[in-house]
């Protein structure tokens, strides 16, 4: 059930750090995703810091879960590897703190059960302490979001909710009202993972979202190539690239090279 405290946030006078960072000027903004603790904790900090200073607008850090329902094989495997290396919520918060120190806004993405097990109030407080700007929980729809979202807001963290191509008009409005920082527009019906083309209908979906909110709109899931950036420029404020970057890290290559190529296509 949506609580009143959940609605109150809609009209905010000042824009959050994320909101400012992700708003497209003439260029499309890029958000890069890495899995905390992948391939191990030390390397994820090194890669994260490099990416944070490579020109991306924000960095998304995943906290692994044993059963990630919204993730495709690349991110599933990365999460599994990170868990096998012994990472947990606490370790990911430390990774996030080290990367956030570079100054680029950091967003955490994880599932609800690790947050519940950690204690959501403690999680919110410690994430804020670590310098995290916002949190995305893909299995927490707005209807189930209280009291967790309230605690995140109390810690001055942005709560980013997702809209998808199957989201109905009445839910679209509610999702936009509950979101802060930006609205995450899932461009495909499906799970994370690189795809060849951006689906038709993406433009219309983003336009619909814009009719409900002033927040920046980021497009994610399936986005991996420079031509995707070109297709999104002028429509979305930002693009989120995850699996393609994680796959580079998996190979042992430097993901900054891919990010530079993508950034070139954002301009």
């Amino acid at each position: 059930m949506v609580s009143d405290t959940g609605r109150a946030r809609g009209a905010r006078s000042t824009r959050s750090k994320l909101d400012q960072a992700l708003r497209a000027d003439k260029d499309l903004k890029l958000v890069a995703y890495i899995m905390g603790g992948h391939p191990n904790r030390k390397r994820s900090i090194e890669v994260g810091k490099k990416l944070a200073t490579s020109g991306v607008a924000a960095l998304e850090i995943g906290i692994p879960h044993s059963d990630p329902l919204a993730d495709g094989p690349v991110i599933q495997r990365a999460g599994q590897a990170a868990l096998e290396h012994g990472i947990n919520v606490e370790g990911c918060l430390e990774v996030a703190a080290a990367i956030a120190a570079e100054g680029t806004p950091v967003v955490l993405m994880t599932y609800i059960n690790p947050i519940l097990a950690y204690d959501p109030r403690k999680f919110a407080a410690e994430a804020a302490q670590a310098g995290v700007a916002g949190v995305i929980v893909p299995d927490l729809p707005v209807e189930e979001s209280e009291p967790v979202a309230g605690w995140l807001r109390s810690a001055s963290l942005d709560t980013i909710f997702m809209v998808s191509p199957t989201t109905s008009a009445h839910r679209l409005q509610s999702i936009c009202e509950h979101s802060s920082g930006f609205v995450y527009c899932v461009t495909v019906t499906g799970i994370t993972g690189a795809r060849k083309e951006i689906p038709a209908g993406m433009k219309e979906l983003i336009q619909q979202v814009r009719s409900h909110t002033e927040l920046p709109v980021a497009a994610g899931f399936g986005i991996s190539r420079p031509e995707h950036m070109k297709a999104l420029r002028g429509t979305a404020d930002a693009a989120v690239v995850g699996s393609a970057i994680v796959a580079e890290i998996d190979k042992g290559s430097d993901p900054v090279k891919l990010v530079k190529e993508l950034l070139k296509a954002c301009r």
């Binding site: 879960h65 044993s66 329902l69 019906t189």
Partner: protein, 390 residues
């Protein structure tokens, strides 16, 4: 009776799923409520239950088993006599009719023991749906006969190699398929688990077990049983038989989970006995998890009970102390399997063999004259290989 408020049983239940599925859950809830109120739908469902599933299933007096356990009266609700060999078809038929109403062309399912997979493949053959069943590598090995049955029925069986390669991982993979193909596909979940409206809807489709059993039991000598016992993995046969008795305060209800090698060893699948509340596969309920909220691997000789979660209504009934939950080991379940086969000429599935063992324990407590009803949720042919290996 516990009436869910917005899909909740007390604090349990809910819809913890990716946004992409929210529209489909809303549609399913609407269609289900319409269908429930539609006489035509109810008549159609009743017709399929009679002629296709083979209902009502008999209530059987297991006199030799009763004598063996010291003279108590033990009755078995014979869900093993349902077409395809288990109670799972009750749910599959109902949801197939809903999929027709929604105009979906394709059906997906997860399966552990393969009984739900076979039931779904069966209704897909019967009603002409395209069918994909997700099953873990480990379960495909120990339930190979059911894999062959599903393939003969025309289903595609997709091997799930992730994680523990059992029911939990098959369910996660089925949900991912659904997120991707939600516009054309209906997901027939096999138990009273998952996001709202599944726990409530699957209960309503399975409660026919208890509704029949209560009436049959009363018609024998006008009294109700002292205790009703059922095995609990996700918990659909148990909810199915318990629901009719929830308001009968003098009838004790006992759910039997899989203790595997023993709850203390950590190698078990007893979520209610050995777990704590958390979110798995879209609902908040008791879950076997580590301190970081990662889902733990489970163990049970019975593939159908080998699951780290349990239906949210069971979590509610546990906390409300209306149902007592216990756990029975692999070893005791296998002994009960053999005992029932030899004494009654009925080979139970390994899942209800857990309940049969506990029926023996309770029979000794009650003594002669004790009145025990056990839900015999399925037949045991599928378990021949698991039994031979022991």
């Amino acid at each position: 009776m516990s009436h869910p408020e917005r899909g909740r049983f007390g604090p349990y239940g809910g819809q913890y799923v990716p946004e992409t599925l929210m529209g489909a859950l809303e549609e399913l809830e609407d269609v289900w409520h319409e269908a429930k109120a539609d006489t035509q739908f109810q008549l159609e469902l009743a017709g399929h239950r009679r002629a296709f599933v083979g209902r009502p299933t008999p209530l059987y007096s297991a006199t030799r088993l009763g004598e063996h356990f010291g003279g108590a009266h033990i009755h078995l609700k014979r869900e093993d006599l349902c077409h395809t060999g288990a109670h799972k078809l009750n749910n599959a038929v109902g949801q197939a009719l809903l999929a027709l109403r929604m105009g979906k062309k394709r059906i997906i399912a997860e399966t552990g023991a393969g009984q739900h997979g076979v039931a779904v493949a069966t209704v897909c053959a019967r009603f002409g749906f395209e069918c994909t069943v997700y099953m873990g590598t480990e379960d495909m090995r120990r339930q190979s006969m059911n894999v062959r049955r599903m393939k003969l029925l025309g289903a595609e069986v997709v091997e799930v190699t992730a994680g523990t390669k059992t029911l939990k991982d098959a369910t996660s993979e089925a949900i991912r398929d659904w997120v991707t193909n939600v516009r054309t596909t209906h997901y027939i979940i096999g138990s009273v688990v998952g996001p709202h409206p599944y726990p409530e809807m699957v209960r309503d489709l399975q409660r026919v077990i208890g509704d029949e059993a209560r009436e049959q039991y009363l018609s024998v000598d006008g009294k109700l049983p002292d205790v009703v016992i059922a095995c609990v993995g996700g918990g659909s046969n148990a909810i199915g038989v318990f629901t009719a008795f929830l308001d009968d305060k003098d009838v004790a209800l006992v759910g039997v989970e899989a203790a595997g090698e023993g709850v203390r060893t950590g190698h078990h699948a007893a979520s209610l006995v050995g777990g704590r509340p958390g979110v798995l596969h879209g609902s908040y309920s008791y879950v076997l998890q580590d301190r970081d909220g990662q889902i733990l691997p489970t163990h049970s000789v019975s593939a159908g009970l080998d699951y780290p979660g349990v239906g949210p209504e069971h979590a509610f009934l546990r906390d409300a102390e209306r149902v007592e939950y216990v756990a029975v080991t692999d070893k005791d379940a296998i002994a009960a399997f053999k005992l029932c086969t030899r004494l009654e000429g009925i080979m139970p599935a390994l899942e209800p063999a857990h309940a049969l063992h506990h029926a023996g324990v309770m029979a000794r407590e009650y003594g002669p004259g004790g009145r025990i009803l056990v839900c015999l949720s399925g037949r045991g042919d599928k378990d021949m290989d698991s039994i031979d290996g022991v």
